[in-house]
Symmetry: C2
Subunit: 328 residues, 2 copies
DNA sequence: TTTTTATGTGTAACCGGTTACATGTTCGTT
DNA sequence: AACGAACATGTAACCGGTTACACATAAAAA
């Protein structure tokens, strides 16, 4: 690999001049510029990003910390983010936290040591205090942390209400809810949205709420228990699509037909919804847009454009599949 | 952020000494070491990874280039790789190539500029010549490029044969194949494996082979055409699980029951197989192991342990789900 | 006692860029 | 003719580490 010195020598100029043409700043005579460009071409010179980082204290790299990339929501997010970064000559570092605070913090340390320019994080454990202490541009995604931390998310509470309203509208008389982990803010919001819609219904029963922990198999098990005890449930609002898959599985196994016997609606709008049969009706988040916006917001912050701690809230939208059916 | 100079001053020693205790090499008096450690503690000093990289010409970072992280095979791979890296204090950069040679090459350039220590790549387009020219430790995953390039993959040909053999064994009389993209080596191998098992069968028909391009919806469409024309097909070997999902979708839509009317087997063994109903029978690759091995191999290469261009080949194993049924 | 050898520490060069500052031209103005 | 602004380029310090080398001292060997 040739260095800037080699180029300087080849073009018979100083390294400063080469640096100037490289970065297109300062005065450079047109002829000199051409000479340098020719030398760069000849030597197939590529500037050393690490040396540049050391001086500039920035690496053109951002990190994405998610609980687990295997959860199908996150690859879609990651893809959107990477697209934006790629278009802006940034690079994406991927981290799996398993929701462990220790891992998150360890990643944070490493990122600071590597001059990573910013972080997009999906977390339920990190505190605003810790984050501010680290003083690195950050955007929380999917799960707002605090109004002092920029975030990109959807209105889970409203979305959940709409989902339940839809089930009601198509004629469901007894609606159950599979909620996500207690510690996860969006699962909580969705749960609250469900509650606000059903807690005053005469049929409402605490037992209609089960916890699927954002896990398919766990959901399937819990759903079987639920449905065998309460055979008259005719609608289920799953806290996310992944768990809706679990419900689908349980129902199929029990010979309960979806949507004929039971209407099912999920939340998120992951691609998987369209691939199952029946296709899952869901309250869809604009996932790609979410990732895209988070990335753009972060880049703006890094480049000093965005100043106010933006709290972007997107709307979810009902995406009707085949798992819900108008009953009457 | 404090630097090594701050620590040196705090401990009243030279930066060289601090560096020595940091890296645990060279002679350092026990008392001096303690003094330095105390200073490090006091200042909460973390060495600057970029400065270190510049000198050492290595970044403790490796890149993973996949066609698209949204394809559910890759998050599982990525997770395995990241686990290994994390345990070895390496960081993972994620790149989506969309199978475009241009993007792959662009990533390569960036990686070299950033002193990325190695690359794990899933590609069908890059040539051994190009790769060797770049002279960076590399492991090709899932799709061997050439025997001069270390790779980690499964025996797709054998696996495909076994899959078809299984369909035969359970009594399928007419077996179709949904193949993957023509340009992708593993899709080709699987196709050949299928052919070797069926081309001599009296029932064999060229029309039993359709192309799903590793795409669900495309597969579903093609499958509907296939099945409406050839109603006596009673077994389908899908080139991967993702396409098997497409077959499942098509069959459901057409009222063809799986496995009662049609047995379906996929390839890969992604987690999704267990989440559908019916669960998909598949020739499972040891996905996690694949990623793990690729990462370990690459780290060995980077640290100069592995020298011979290893071509690791893993075995696939039949994982019986609910999409295949013994017919007689 | 002298010579090695092992131990301990500091100075400064180096990794490959960027940029502040100095220096020197060339113009346009007055 | 004199002077300031714009243009052009080079020198060297700097970013924050690592390490070769020099030097000093203590312990071991001759």
């Amino acid at each position: 690999m040739s260095t800037i010195k080699d180029v300087a020598k080849e073009a018979s100029v100083s390294v400063a001049t080469v640096s100037r043409v490289l970065n297109n700043n300062g005065y450079v005579n047109e002829d000199t510029r051409k000479k340098v460009l020719k030398a760069i071409e000849k030597l197939d010179y590529k500037p050393n990003a690490v040396a540049r980082s050391l001086f500039k204290k920035q690496s053109k790299t951002i990190a994405l910390i998610v609980p687990d990339i295997k959860n199908p929501f996150f690859p879609e997010i990651a893809r959107a983010i990477e697209d934006v970064l790629n278009n802006n000559d940034y690079t994406l570092i991927l981290c799996n936290s398993d929701e462990h605070e220790d891992k998150e913090k360890k990643y944070f340390d490493v990122m600071k040591q590597k001059y990573v320019d910013g972080v997009i994080i999906v977390t339920s454990t990190l505190t605003p205090k810790y984050i501010e202490k680290n003083n690195i541009p950050i955007v929380s995604l999917d799960r707002p942390i605090h109004n002092s931390i920029p975030s990109v998310a959807v209105n889970n509470y409203e979305g959940a209400k709409e989902a339940v309203q839809y089930l009601k509208a198509i004629g469901c008389k007894k609606i159950a809810h599979v909620r996500g982990p207690v510690s996860v803010i969006n699962a909580d919001e969705r749960y609250k949205g469900y509650l606000s819609e059903v807690s005053n219904e005469p049929w409402f029963n605490e037992e209609f709420i089960i916890n699927g922990n954002y896990n398919v198999l766990e959901t399937a098990k819990a759903t079987m228990v639920l449905l065998s005890k309460h055979r008259d449930i005719d609608g289920i609002f799953a806290g996310n699509d992944y768990m809706a898959l679990g419900v689908l599985k349980a129902a199929t196994q029990m010979g309960i037909r979806i949507p004929q016997d039971l209407s099912l609606i999920g939340f998120d709008g992951i691609q998987l919804c369209e691939l199952t049969s029946p296709e899952i009706t869901t309250m869809a988040q604009p996932i790609y847009e979410l990732g895209e916006s988070a990335a753009k917001l972060l880049l703006d912050m890094i480049e000093g454009k965005a100043v106010n701690p933006a709290q972007q809230e997107f709307k979810v939208s009902l995406k009707i599949g085949q798992s819900t059916k108008v009953l009457r």
